[in-house]
Amino acid sequence: MEEPRIGVYLCWCGTNISKMVDVEAVTKEVSTLPYVVLSKNYKYMCSDPGQDLIIKDIKSHNLNRVVVAACSPRIHELTFRNACEKAGINPYLFEMANIREQDSWVHTDRSEATLKAIDLVIAAIRRVRYHEPLQKRTVNVDPATLIIGGGISGMSAALEIANAGKKVYLIERADHLGGQVARFDLTFPHLSSAQQMIGPMIQRVENHPMISVSLNTEVKEVDGYIGNFRARLAQKGAEQPEITFGNIIAAIGLKPFDPSVIEEYSYGKFPDVITSLEFEDNLRAGRILTKYGKEPRNVAIIHCVGSRNRKYHEYCSRVCCMVALKFVHEIRAALPEANIYEIYADMRAYGKGHEEFYAMTTHKQIIFLMYDQQKRLPVIREAHRDDDCNMLIEMNELLSGIDIEVPVDMVILMVNMEAHENVKEVVRTIGVSLCGNQFFIEKHPKLDPVATTTGGVYIVGTCQGPKDIPDSVAQAKAAAARILATIAQGSVPVEVTTAIVNESLCCGCQTCISVCPYSAVSYDEIKKASVVNEVLCKGCGTCGGCCPAGAITSKHFTDRQILSEIEGIMSMSY
């Protein structure tokens, strides 16, 4: 191995780092370490001048290793790797120290943060010394796409891809397309008909030559990797022929919250306490009647049912406030004389036209009553014998602090959007992760909200988190664009940091074979050693973590590299 010549670069990140870390001191501290040729700092290393600084130094000082101490490698590792490559050294001869997210932003003592930064930079320097050049690899992309879920998100993505002339397999578990939107009457805030929107869309999907729709169908198993997946489907339990495709979009949608677990609301006990979706059914049928067949004179809409409550779900379902206001419009139109109560915890009208819609609705003679979501939910009781109403809602009205009772004949519960009940199953088959609320987790919450950490798998619509129709459609089309881009490219880069076997050390104990979740490791009878299928390997390194002989390891995460990092991180320890 050639003598390491390491260039170290510290980023100020404006004041984000320099405010809490004495960048100058760190630069000086590490400048004398073995193999460090130069150490510099700059205001924004990720900027063009910052990158140019590295590129110039690599050329003029003949550097063969680069360390950048800046933000999280999850943000800019690729940026700097590309800069290294531009300067002519292998991008993997680079290491990043995270002194922003994991240092300057989380500490308040400048000297401690500076000491920590020194440790982290030394660790990176010690590690990069043992980095080895790795070669990029690509695989071809099958132009077909599998879309799981035939709701508005799945269909939007399907049409987008199919209109580009690429094959789409659209799989729907139910016996019809349309998903939740097919249940809606009107949509907010324009009060346009959901049926008129979704109906023609379903027809376009069903008649599209490039879309193959399979109803009553579930995905049994997905094998393969980005660009080259294959799946077994089952239609009504019967196995279907295997299909192959290059990308997957999960659009499995949501499940409405079951309010019967909330005792206060007596859902299931009182026939006129109904969920928002049941009310949509009523609206579509064109009749707002109590179970006794009478027009309700008092209608209450309770918000945040199962949402924003530690007992049920802490998150906000985002659309229910607007749906409730939409109900107000529809009820007011049908029952001009009815008393309408909006019993809410907070009114959220964040979207385009939403605040205006809310303001407009307030003039529909609605009585808004606020309750404390955390302290006391409203309680629905049976009315007294001499009351001229069906039920009474007892609540503490938060804005006045007064305990009130509200006479009602019908209560609509704005139920939360829960993750789909099928979610665990899908997670298993397509290999994506779930967040704490059982929604699929995106690759990056801001910069990559449609991809997942599994290459070639995208998430759209409410399976990623509660959202309204335009957001779902936007996400669907974004995912479609991403997929079309990879199809247009024809190939995609795959994991470089795969496992590697040192065959001269492997004794053939085969411990590594059963631990591999991707069956990427197998035993070669002739070599009498384990071998890795690099296309299947995703580089988790679990095999390396169990090899008793130290024969198999993951590239870029070798024992030597990690042990050096540990030594480096502890070298200044007090």
Binding site: Y341, Q365, L369, E397, I404, E405, P407
Partner: protein
């Protein structure tokens, strides 16, 4: 014990002013910026809430609407244009009708027919008294002038008869107003909540009532000080006029033309100036509609201004015509003056807008009583 919401209260409330308070989404900006709103007596937001929910008893027990002097800053700062200031104004009208046991107040506020009819009927009665009743009692119109060349007013409007009538009218108005104030006391202090206020506190804090009536320090706490001055002129002018006309009529309504520095004339001029100045500001404001407090004018507002202006102008005319020895003009002015003044006092003082001259200082007094009635642990002394 829960209070039941009464959405139907809305249909009653909207008759007293602007109807839609649903625009309010309770950000509390109005309360936060109001210099008069204070801990324990927060408004306007809380009162709007009571209106929205239709909590009648809570509304009627509210002292806060009277603590508002309608500077209009709340309406200016309202992000939703919910007009909290005007809602408080409407609420004052509503409360006036609630305090009034005769039900006339509500009629006047909610029916223009009733109000105009009442005014016209009384105006006719006044005119008839001058044209029919007084002549039949032997008081006649005379062209004869006094030695100083002034008009013989007392020959036409005999001072003791007018004074007697004034006293009768004052008695009626006062008894109505006092009974209304007692009802106000009953609703705010007696009935609502479980409060007890000692007699000593009642006596000790009584000065507040006088002080607030005379100075209106609360009004001056509003950020815009201009209106305090014009209102004070109006109020003091009116009060002086009211006292000299009702209590000291014989001293005021003289045939003798007194020297210009005589207190009778000076008081009269001051009162006239105060009235005219206050009226000018109010009328210009309501016409220009630049200031938010003048943005919405209920029929009762205009009627009141019109009548008061007419009263003031006719009063001036009487004075001018009298000292210049113009009998006919003096008498016509006098009849007109009385025809406007009488229904105005009868309507406005016990039943309508003018009653606030009593309700406001009493509200400050009741507020103070409430302070001493609230249990210690809730944070009040």
């Amino acid at each position: 014990m829960s209070v039941r919401v009464q959405p139907e209260l809305r249909s009653q409330l909207i008759q007293f002013g602007i109807g839609d308070w649903n625009a309010c989404y309770h950000c509390g900006t109005c309360t936060a910026q109001c210099p008069l709103s204070e801990e324990g007596f927060l408004f306007p937001r809380k009162k709007i809430r009571l209106m929205q929910m239709g909590l009648k008893d809570e509304l009627e027990a509210s002292v806060e609407p009277w603590l508002c002097y309608y500077c209009g800053d709340c309406s200016t700062s309202c992000p939703r244009d919910a007009n909290p200031g005007e809602l408080m104004m409407s609420l004052r009208r509503y409360l006036t009708s609630i305090y009034d046991w005769t039900g006339l107040s509500k009629k006047f506020y909610t029916s223009e027919l009733w109000e105009l009819g009442f005014i016209i009927v009384f105006a006719i009665l006044v005119v008839l008294s001058f044209l029919v009743l007084l002549p039949s009692m032997g008081y006649h119109f005379t062209r004869e002038l006094t030695a100083q060349g002034g008009v013989q007013l007392n020959a036409f409007a005999p001072i003791h008869v007018v004074e007697t009538f004034d006293w009768c009218m004052a008695a009626v108005v006062a008894s109505l107003l006092i009974s209304n104030i007692l009802r106000m006391y009953y609703k705010i202090i007696w009935k609502y909540g479980n409060m007890k206020v000692s007699l000593w506190v009642h006596i000790r804090e009584f000065w507040l009532l006088i002080f607030n009536f005379a100075v209106q320090p609360k009004f001056n706490k509003c950020d815009d000080k201009r209106y305090w001055l014009s209102h004070w002129f109006l109020m003091s002018g009116y009060t002086i006029m009211f006292i000299v006309i009702v209590v000291y009529l014989p001293w005021f309504q003289t045939q003798k033309i007194l020297p210009i520095w005589h207190p009778q004339r000076l008081l009269g001029y001051y009162a006239t100036f105060g009235l005219l100045f206050g009226l000018f500001v109010a009328i210009i404001g309501r016409i220009q509609r630049k200031d938010v407090k003048f943005l919405f004018s209920h029929i009762s507002d205009w009627l009141f201004l019109a009548m008061l202006t007419l009263t003031a102008i006719t009063g001036i005319l009487i004075h001018i015509f009298r000292i210049n020895g113009m009998p006919l003009a003096t008498y016509i002015s006098y009849i007109t003056h009385m025809a406007v003044l009488v229904p105005m006092i009868l309507i406005e003082v016990p039943f309508s807008k003018w009653s606030h001259l009593a309700y406001r200082p009493f509200a400050v007094y009741f507020q103070q009583l409430k302070r001493y009635a609230v249990p210690r642990e809730s944070g009040h002394p």
